[in-house]
Amino acid sequence: MSVVSRTVAAIPVRTSVAAWQAVTGLLAPAGSAARGRLEAVTNIAAILITAEYTQQAPIVVIPASGPRVRIRTSHGTDAAETRAGEIPLAASPCAEPGWTMSLPCGIDDIEEIRAALDRHPGIEVRDVTDGITVDEPAEGPAAGEWSIDYEEMERP
């Protein structure tokens, strides 16, 4: 399994809701079924971004096929630089049905957020200190499409 990583500028460059909209824009085209599912959790995700959990650990998208996607948010003075360097994904990881998402969350909020996500199958929350199991990459990246960030894979 390979991993693609991206960072999205959040507060103060964007509000928490606008930051989530930027994340959804990376993951799924406007008007798609996947985009609708992602937009349905906007308020929940915006709260996690405001608390900066998404800076400490990534949002992880596990597609039906293709590389896993990890997205972090940057905050404060780092955010302005991040925005200038934001790179779209070569392909939508949510294009095929069967994708899932894991959102990072602090222990103080996890019970509330988990209950709120009950109505959104396939989108789950995990303790921000927990890692996500990632298999060793079997081969290198396809040229021009994506790259493997091994350091990112080591991060929680």
Binding site: I11, P12, V13, R14, S16, N43, T50, A51, T77
Partner: protein, 172 residues
């Protein structure tokens, strides 16, 4: 170029203060034993209004009003105000910061509310504010019989400061 930098600084400060003020209100809601679902489900509307009116300099204060729906008439049981000071840092180039200890202190001093209590968030704005989807005009509940306690500035950015105060029933 200097104009563009100025615009970005002002916009970033407004976004920083707006989002962190809303996050602090959510902390107060949770820390006071109130149901966080209401603020979570309205997060996009609340953030949009607060950020818009901060950027346009129409926002004067954001208030968390806690009330007991079982009581008729004057049913306020508690209140937290974030009051905006547009000249907190006269130079306008202050850091972006949040002091969670100030918020935690207010929560601790105020104590918890009974589980039956509900709340709403009220924005006090100057005339001429731009309209924002999801917000309606209202008036504050009466604070007669309450004492206002100023805690201090909880959030700062650019020239902006957001000072926190809470109300307790007088004589308690």
């Amino acid at each position: 170029m200097s104009t563009a930098v100025y615009v970005n600084t002002v916009t970033y400060a407004a976004t920083h203060v707006a989002t962190n003020m809303l996050g602090s209100i959510r902390s107060i809601v949770k820390g006071s034993g109130l149901d966080p679902a209401r603020i979570r489900e309205s997060w996009d509307i609340l953030e949009d209004g607060i950020a818009t009116w901060l950027a346009s300099r129409h926002l004067k204060a954001v208030t968390l009003e806690v009330y007991d729906p079982r009581k008729s008439g004057e049913n306020l049981v508690g209140r937290f105000d974030f009051t905006i000071d547009y000249g907190y840092y006269p130079g306008g180039d202050g850091d972006l910061w949040l002091d969670p200890d100030t918020v935690a202190y207010a929560i601790r001093k105020n104590g918890a509310f009974p589980a039956r209590c509900e709340y709403r968030i009220v924005a006090d704005t100057a005339p001429g504010r731009p309209d924002v989807r999801g917000w309606a005009t209202t008036t504050y509940r009466s604070t007669t019989g309450f004492t206002r306690h100023v805690v201090g500035t909880a959030i700062g950015g650019g020239s902006l400061g957001a000072g926190l105060a809470y109300y307790s029933r007088s004589g308690t």
